[in-house]
Amino acid sequence: MKRISTLAFILIGIAAAVALVILVAPNANANPDGLEKVAAEQGIDNNVQDHDLAGGPFADYEVSGVDNRYAGTWISGLLGVTVTFAIGAGIVYVLRRSRRPA
C-alpha cells in the first residue's frame, strides 16, 4: 500500500487541529474542569490569585475587544495552533541543526 507523503500527513493533522478549533471548541463544555471543580468544592482555592497576564489580549482563549464568542475562540485557537506548531517544530529543527558538525 502506498503511503501518503509526510507533507500530506502533516497537512491532514493540521487540518484536523483546525477543524477541532473551528467546529468543536466554541461548543466546549462550559463546566469547570476536574481540578477547578474539586478545588472549589473542597475549598482549596481560597488563596488563588488572578493570573499575572490576565489582562493580556488573548487571556482565557478570548480576544479582547471581540465580543463574539465564536470569533474570539477561533482567533485564539488558530493563534495557539500556529504558535505551538512553530515552537514545537522550531525547537527540534534547532536541536537537529546544532547537532551536525559545522
Binding site: K37, F85, G88
Partner: protein, 231 residues
C-alpha cells in the same frame, strides 16, 4: 471553560519553586535526548503533536456532576514522537497557554509541566510499553496500548497534584479529602483521554505507521526466521 491548569496560589511558593527547578532539569534532559532519538523527518511531527494537543485541550468534554475534562496529551505525544520529544511538545503547549492565554499560573508552571508533560510522557510511555508487550508486541498492539495507557494518565496527574498539595497546599483541607476527590474525577476524565488518544494514534497508524515512535521495531506478525530461532 477551556483547559484550566493549576493557577497561582493553590500551592505555596517554595514548593512551586522546587517544582520549577525539577521541571527545568527534566525538560533540559528531554532537550538533550530529543535530537538523538529523532530524525529531520520528525521535525514537523513534533510541531503537529504540540498543535494537535493545544487544539484538543480547548475541547472540554462533560464528565459527571457539572464537571468537565480535557485531554492532557502526554501519552499521545510520547507514542507519536517518543517520551523526550513528547514531553517537550506538551511543555510547549503549557508554556504557550500560560504566557499567551493566561491559563495555568506562571509560578505554577513547573507543577503543571511535571504533572502533565513529564509524568504524562514518561510514566505514560512506560505504561504504554508494558501494555504493548502484554498485547503481543505487534503493530496492531500500538493503538489499544496507547488508549489504555492514556486512560490511566489523568489519575497519575491527579495523584501528583495531591502530593504537591500535601507538601505545599495553601489550605487546611485534608490530603485524603483532596486525593479522593481528585482521583475520582480524573478516573472519569481518563475515559476521554483514552478515547481521544486511541483515535488519534489509530489515525496516524492507519496513515503513516512508520512515523509512530511507539511502533518502531515492531513486526505486523511473527517473522518465520525469528520464530525458528525462538523455538
Amino acid at each position: 471553560m477551556l483547559a484550566m491548569h493549576i493557577p497561582d496560589g493553590f500551592i505555596d511558593g517554595p514548593t512551586s519553586l522546587i517544582a520549577g527547578l525539577i521541571a527545568i532539569a527534566g525538560v533540559a534532559w528531554c532537550v538533550r535526548k530529543t535530537s538523538a532519538t529523532l530524525s529531520d523527518r520528525d521535525i514537523p511531527v513534533v510541531g503537529l503533536a504540540a498543535a494537535f494537543i493545544f487544539a484538543a485541550q480547548m475541547l472540554n468534554f462533560p464528565v459527571a456532576n457539572g464537571t468537565s475534562g480535557h485531554l492532557l496529551g502526554g501519552v499521545l505525544a510520547a507514542v507519536l514522537v517518543g517520551p523526550w520529544a513528547g514531553a517537550l511538545a506538551v511543555t510547549v503547549v503549557l508554556v504557550v497557554q500560560a504566557l499567551l492565554f493566561a491559563d495555568g499560573g506562571l509560578s505554577a508552571l513547573g507543577l503543571n509541566v511535571i504533572n502533565m508533560a513529564l509524568a504524562g510522557a514518561f510514566v505514560g510511555y512506560g505504561l504504554f510499553l508494558v501494555l504493548r508487550k502484554v498485547l503481543g508486541g505487534r503493530t496492531w498492539s500500538v493503538t489499544p496500548a496507547a488508549g489504555t495507557a492514556a486512560f490511566l494518565v489523568p489519575v497519575i496527574a491527579a495523584l501528583l497534584f495531591t502530593v504537591e498539595y500535601a507538601i505545599g497546599g495553601n489550605d487546611a483541607v485534608s490530603v485524603g479529602t483532596v486525593a479522593t476527590a481528585m482521583i475520582g474525577v480524573h478516573a472519569l476524565i481518563g475515559i476521554g483521554e483514552g478515547v481521544i488518544s486511541g483515535l488519534a494514534v489509530g489515525a496516524v497508524m492507519s496513515m503513516r505507521p512508520d512515523l509512530v515512535y511507539g511502533a518502531r521495531r515492531l513486526e505486523a506478525r511473527p517473522q518465520p526466521a525469528l520464530r525458528g530461532v525462538a523455538a
